[in-house]
């Protein structure tokens, strides 16, 4: 555990002494709960439709797939037409595109970013390496199955997937959201212990609270 995460005593400017335990004080570690859908079916349908048509991607290029995200947002493919846009902070994003292989070190950051996003949130796994390891099936540092660690809604196969494949993957995701089946965040909350156990088995120095947001 790093020094700055250990318990310590801090002196405030006016002379008080405070004991700080960073892992508890700076984060809320309440586990996520299952969030029910809106009471009325019509309202939920409206919300789902709006969610599907307004996908805000978290700007986190986790792997080499990120290179095809740029053409996606520029003149040739222009995903803005479909209501897809970048969001630089996890609080405001609702779609996490795992763009390619995840090394263990990145997985840790991905989990934290994912947990900071607000329910409902969606995960798209990009590239063969998120499905079964792909090219890196025998690497000691990349995970082989993304759905062991995060609830995935859509996988897009390929190495690397072309922007057209991405667009069709997003269309598929929209279809799933509109039909009300994209409940990844709730699945994560229901199987929280299972996901956490998987994550902890891989991440060797777990120096953060179980749930942080």
């Amino acid at each position: 555990m790093r020094d700055e995460l250990k318990k310590r005593v801090v002196k405030t400017p006016d002379g008080q002494e405070l004991e700080i335990e960073p892992l508890r004080d700076y984060y809320c570690e309440a586990p996520p709960t299952v969030m029910p859908a809106a009471y009325s079916k019509i309202v939920e349908g409206l919300f789902n439709w709006a969610r599907a048509e307004s996908l805000w991607i978290l700007g986190f290029g986790t792997g080499c797939g990120a290179i095809e995200m740029r053409p996606l947002m520029t003149p040739r493919f222009d995903a803005y037409r479909y209501g897809i846009q970048w969001r630089p902070t996890p609080r405001q994003a609702n779609l996490f595109v795992i763009s390619g292989y995840l090394s263990v070190k990145t997985l840790k950051r991905v989990i934290r970013s994912y947990e900071q996003m607000q329910n409902p949130k969606y995960v798209v796994g990009l590239g063969s390496c998120t499905i079964n390891g792909g090219m890196y099936f025998d690497s000691y540092n990349t995970i082989t199955r993304l759905d062991e660690y995060l609830p995935v809604d859509v996988y897009i196969a390929g190495c690397m997937p072309r922007p057209e494949a991405l667009l069709s993957g997003f269309e598929e995701l929209k279809r799933i959201i509109k039909s009300g089946k994209a409940e990844g965040a709730n699945r994560y909350a229901e199987n929280f212990d299972w996901y956490k156990a998987n994550q902890k088995r891989v991440i060797q120095d777990w120096d953060m609270p179980d749930y942080n947001w």
Binding site: N132, F137, Y140, T144, D205
Partner: protein, 181 residues
């Protein structure tokens, strides 16, 4: 200035330093085996007198059969258009080496990587004990030959069932010559 060949350079250097064998790979690339104690004065000499000012890379090779690590310091003389690699052999057990970060600051990065990936100690190098690429790695350093990455991956990462991996040689033989000839 007449371009001197790598062998001539070797002869010149040999008058000053005790050197090991020379391998001429190309007309502008050669590798010289040197003793661990000779490395630092030799590097200084090459840098300041012979124009090898650019440290291209510093890396290690694991010769597990001989029980030794080979450290390769590759230097480049841009104006002379030639490269010289220095090989230093270290015993594999408790491998440690002097740091050269004061000659080239970039060497500190290479040494951090070697420390992490091969487990070679560089006691004086700055920030050498910090995690560089891996995080909290406690097992065998992964670039060592006795670390089996496939085994580690299968044990750690829950591979998705259904993937078949074949040895290419045996599989192609089976496909092309099914009767076993």
């Amino acid at each position: 200035m007449r371009q001197i060949s790598m062998r001539e350079l070797y002869e010149i250097l040999k008058q000053i330093f005790p050197l090991g064998e020379l391998t001429e790979q190309r007309s502008n690339l050669a590798f010289i085996t040197v003793d661990r104690a000779q490395l630092r004065p030799l590097l200084l000499h090459l840098r300041d007198r012979e124009g090898f000012t650019h440290l291209v890379l510093l890396t290690a090779v694991d010769w597990i059969e001989d029980g030794s690590f080979q450290l390769t310091y590759l230097l480049c003389d841009r104006l002379g258009q030639r490269d010289l690699g220095l090989r230093v052999m270290l015993p594999r057990d408790g491998a440690a080496m002097e740091s050269i970060h004061d000659l080239w600051p970039t060497a500190a990065t290479y040494q951090r990587e070697l420390r992490e990936m091969f487990g070679i100690a560089f006691p004086e190098s700055p920030r050498v004990e910090e995690d560089f690429i891996l995080e909290g790695w406690t097992g065998t350093p992964p670039y060592r030959r006795d670390f089996d990455t496939l085994k580690y991956s299968n044990e750690t990462f829950a591979p998705r069932p259904g993937r078949e991996t074949r040895d290419p040689e045996g599989y192609m033989k089976e496909q092309l010559y099914p009767d076993g000839n």
